[in-house]
């Protein structure tokens, strides 16, 4: 039992160290020795838990997806409207990218040019955003002339862009930036000015 607890702790430390190295240097430059050293474990222990760098990257992405999925669920249950959920989840993602290396690395790995994989986390994010936008339309919260596809594309592209720009200038991942984004986007998205205002004041992450 003690052994299992220790193994789980080592695994978490390795994922955290891998995320920090991926977020700082990108996938190609990240080396397994630098990851095991940062986690304070031996190369053998790393290999026991993760057989390759590719697997480590996939597990960081999965862990980030799990954090995000829970955050979207929380936004959903604490929000009065779909627009408020969207504002809260997006602002939460930007704040998490700044504060949590796992989310930051997981998101950036999805558009890292040195890694040849599928759409990854940005792809899942796109599905979630689209789902929320479609729900908002069905609930009469969207302006009539807004296309769900267009709105999804703008929100997803801007989120990915904030993440990429944030790797050089941290300011792009601040709550102020998320607020600025929604101050611009919500009046266009919402069916009425009241709904736009309600979505911002209701959402906790966008002060």
């Amino acid at each position: 039992m003690v052994k299992q607890v220790r193994a789980a702790r080592t695994r978490r430390a390795l994922l955290q160290a891998a995320a920090e190295v991926f977020a700082a240097d990108g996938y190609a430059m990240a080396s397994l020795p630098s990851i095991s050293a940062r986690a304070g474990v031996s190369a053998g222990a790393l290999h026991f838990h993760f057989s390759s760098k590719a697997l480590l990257a996939t597990e960081v992405e999965n862990a980030a997806a799990e954090v995000l999925r829970s955050a979207v669920e929380r936004s959903r249950s604490s929000s009065a409207t779909w627009l408020e959920t969207l504002v809260d989840a997006t602002s939460g993602l930007l704040v998490a990218m700044a504060a949590d290396p796992v989310v930051c690395a997981g998101f950036r790995l999805g558009s890292d040019p040195s890694r040849k994989n599928g759409p990854g986390l940005p792809g899942w994010w796109r599905t979630w955003v689209h789902d929320l936008v479609v729900q908002a339309r069905a609930a009469g919260e969207l302006a009539d002339d807004v296309s769900p596809e267009g709105a999804t594309a703008v929100i997803v592209a801007a989120t990915v862009g904030f993440g990429a720009l944030g790797s050089r200038e941290h300011d792009w991942l601040s709550p102020e930036r998320a607020g600025q984004f929604w101050a611009f986007v919500l009046p266009r998205l919402a069916a009425s000015p009241q709904q736009a205002t309600g979505a911002v004041t209701g959402a906790s992450g966008a002060e």
Copy 2:
């Protein structure tokens, strides 16, 4: 003289090959031998023109900036309004990122995690977009409640995001996507519906 012409041609071929390799594999994975082989020149010829991979990347960024600067200038002289210039230049950038490896690589190098440099091309793009938005405000083309900083942030983040997403799914860099983006953003940005419509129908790149 013939020698100088040949040297200039070799230099161009090397920049083009480097851009293709950077765009496909990212900075860290790009190797000088693969670049010289793709350009059809010897390793010695590459070293004669560019003493390092870092210098090659900087020169690709400079060449991309020059292409973009000319494109913005052309948009500016062919457009009737600042909003039309903005639509035309942004759509032109997305199309150029899909069609021209130099522009694509130059833009992506600016947020490549394996390269530790300044804000690069995305930083210059931000300055240009901000300048156009400020001119649009001064000319009375912007809606009163739009903040130039917020509008600039959304346009720049979305452009960078389209570029990053386009590395996995080419569709993100299509003219249709640019049209979708402006159909969403312009009604919010423009002082009047007429100005929003005029900016799209006037701009050549956003059909």
